[in-house]
Amino acid sequence: MQHQSITTGGVIAARDLSLTFQTNDGPVHALSDVNLDIGKGEFVSFIGPSGCGKTTFLRVIADLEQPTGGQILVNGMTPEEARRARAYGYVFQAASLYPWRTIEKNIALPLEIMGVSRSEQRERIARVLDLVDLAGFGKKYPWQLSGGMQQRASIARALAFDADLLLMDEPFGALDEIVRDHLNEQLLKLWDRTNKTICFVTHSIPEAVYLSTKIVVMSPRPGRVTDVIDSTLPKERPLDIRETPEFLEIAHRVREGLRAGHSYD
């Protein structure tokens, strides 16, 4: 375990980060002594069984949960300062679009809140709709779109205000395998084009390996990081890269990490 002072160069720096929930059944250690650095432009996946704290870690970054110990910096600021500076876009498992707003009005929502001018709103909406391949669907209501399209719209909404950091909490978890493959491919292209830093929570090993430059393997009780794997895959990743020996080797290491985390249950 490293104990160094926090440098402010990276996007996220966590030192001995802990979070304990007090429940009626006693304390739950959602996060225990997490140390992690994420650099600019990285695509980091968090993988592990439920209860390992991967979502909690994302929520701590987003200032939706308060850590009970340790330190974390986001863009060199506290999570609260980062949130107030609108440093990140958050994508939840459900698209959570407002049913009474059209797709473009949904994307405009954060922009309205941030006081972006009308003309700039229009410009940004057109750009992000294009990025997620939804050009021409702006005037539709969410219920007129499929689940995959809704989730893409919610990604567009998170991209609209141009935060450099994208936090995604199992965004494709509720979608079927084929749609998921397609969206993974699109997400990689989007990441390549926009040069954003992405933190991606998943429970799918192939998804984590396919997408990431860095895979953080976590395990529960207490929630902690058991392995951090730097991917050796090239940046250009067609879908059939998933059959290469390199890919399988990384997937194997992730699986080993998950198994090790489970052994003292």
Binding site: R83, Y90, F92, M114, S146
Partner: protein, 306 residues
Amino acid sequence: MSAVAPIAGRRPSLVARAWNGTALPVTIVVLIIVAVWYVAAVFMNAPQEYDKAGRAGQTLTVSDLVTRTMAQERPVLPAPHQVVVELWDTTINKNITSKRSLVYHAWVTLSATLAGFAIGTVLGVGLAVFIVHNTAADRSLMPWIIASQTIPILAIAPMIIVVLYNIGLSGLLPKALISTYLSFFPVVVGMVKGLRSPDSMQLDLMRTWNASAAQTFWKLRWPSSMPYLFTSMKVAVAISLVGAIVGELPTGAVAGLGARLLAGSYYGQTIQIWSALFMAAGLAATLVALVGVAHSMVLRRMGQAE
């Protein structure tokens, strides 16, 4: 959900829609009620007729009995057509400014109803907003609001009238306030639920955008609560009318549907009572329907065809 466009089919004809819709069942139920009513009218008014015939030394045939029980001036239970004739007579055949016109009395009650409903809705929404944003208010106000509705309105209405009269308020406002007393309640309860209806994910999203409480309210909580608002307004407008009628009873029955009911019972004018009751029911149904129309207009504007 899938990306299937709504099927653009031909609209079924009016007759087909009436047949498949609620028109037919409603008509059948109305016919059954009318039939039962006629039978009941004959039975309930019969003793009076037997009495009369006995005193005159006559014997009644069945057809005599039936026609006479349906033509009494002060029947125990007037026949439906007697009520319809009275309704027609007091609405169409009377000048609407006349005190004998049911339209005049209905307007007196309606104005108090609408005033009370408006005040009640505003008060209800205001209280709900306060309760949702303030935990102390949530804990302290809610029990009192619920307790307020356990007091029988008949008991409290005269006191409200008397107290307000003594501070110089009479006429429309005291009655409206009794309507308010009844109608704010469903609005508070419905709107507290409605304003709390956004799920934690939607509230978290607002937080990630660093939205202010006002922005969260206007962009998320308020639009989310619209279905709840209109549903509780439907209940509120109907009981506003009840409140206005009850409020007219202790004022000495000057004007309004409540006054008609009271005067009718003083003088045994059952036909007048029943026609006032029907006017009140028709009024309530119209008001509820109007709130329903407003509801679907708002929903359509919000892109949620229902």
